[in-house]
Subunit: 212 residues, 2 copies
């Protein structure tokens, strides 16, 4: 039985979607951020960075959201969450996952925690503003790509990168130009949200509307 | 024949190391940044973000450094650059690759280009200073982990994440406390640099000493 340590709406969303798609038994373990449990000694034993999510699979304790996603996908090839190994499609799948994980995701963290990225006590607003502009450009780039090769990031084939993007789009729903205002992205996010597995996660985590 | 679009010392270092380890035929294609060729129409066709590296494998054109690394590793399992799919070791390998790619690597980009992360025309120094402190903490964390489970990130087994870390350590050589001053990290980087494949890349790209 997998254990997913989570807090509603956090980085656990992506692996939670996948666990629901896979259909294997799993248990959700709440890490109560309102009580700072993600910095507790017990949780720091699981993840010394004090970051959510953590996946526990028997003796295997995993951190880093995209790593957990790849691990789950590899262990359950029948769920077809990623293209087969060694194919061109797998390469493009990695390209999208990495773009989301190493470019969009880090900028979203700066957007939420700009004060961590400047030593100027009054500098956070200018950091957030710069990063907000960068993020809008990134989502517009994704929207443009989807206009050529949609409806999903991998074309006709749904894959886990679409769930990863849904998670990031939710975090970006407060941008001046949010993803839902971008037509090809909105179409893709609607398709993903309509999946029964997505609906179960939205209900279980209590994700308020609009989802993205 | 693989084609790797590169500029000495850029993100191509990690895939270049892997191509030398694999031993498959490949051609290096210089993208002359001193002439702004990474923003040329021809290069933007390969990577609309104008970022180096790009790997071309027949009809497959790949961007995103960690994606290129995973793709090459998957296609050449004999080179043993990553643990087998579906194992606990593969999960931990993903965890390290993602930590380097989604946490350390993005902060290094802010360290080099702080002006992109603030709208305050005078704010770049305060951004760089904050990120430099963050980066030193990250390398110290890695050093501490290696003290328990080294010599490599995956313990006794060398893997491609060690090359990825060597690339990041090179970029971090100007930090107030650079990786080479951290004993377990320095030991691991020395082991990696001593590999014949690493030596060939250092010579071909003309990477000045100290390498890290």
């Amino acid at each position: 039985v997998y254990e997913l340590f989570y807090y509603p709406g956090n980085g656990n969303m992506a692996p939670h979607f996948l666990l629901e798609e896979i259909g294997a038994p799993f248990a959700l373990k709440l890490v109560d951020r309102t009580r700072n449990e993600h910095k507790s000694a017990a949780f720091l034993k699981l993840n010394p960075h004090g970051l959510i999510p953590v996946l526990v699979d028997g003796e295997t304790v995993l951190t880093e959201t995209p790593a957990i996603c790849l691990y789950l996908s590899d262990k359950h090839p029948g769920a077809a969450l990623a293209p087969p190994l060694g194919t061109s499609a797998r390469g493009h799948f990695y390209k999208w996952l990495m773009y989301l994980a190493d470019t969009v995701h880090p900028d979203l963290l700066i957007y939420y925690y700009p004060q961590r990225f400047t030593c100027d006590a009054n500098g956070a607003d200018a950091v957030r503003q710069a990063v907000e502009n960068r993020l809008i450009g990134m989502f517009q780039y994704i929207d443009d790509q989807l206009s050529h090769t949609g409806p999903y990031l991998m074309g006709e084939h749904f894959s886990l990168v679409d769930y990863y993007l849904l998670m990031l789009a939710r975090w970006a729903r407060g941008l001046k130009t949010p993803p839902r205002q971008m037509p090809h992205l909105a179409r893709m996010l609607d398709l993903v949200c309509a999946r029964p597995a997505a609906q179960r996660v939205i209900a279980t985590e209590g994700l308020a509307e609009p989802v993205y």
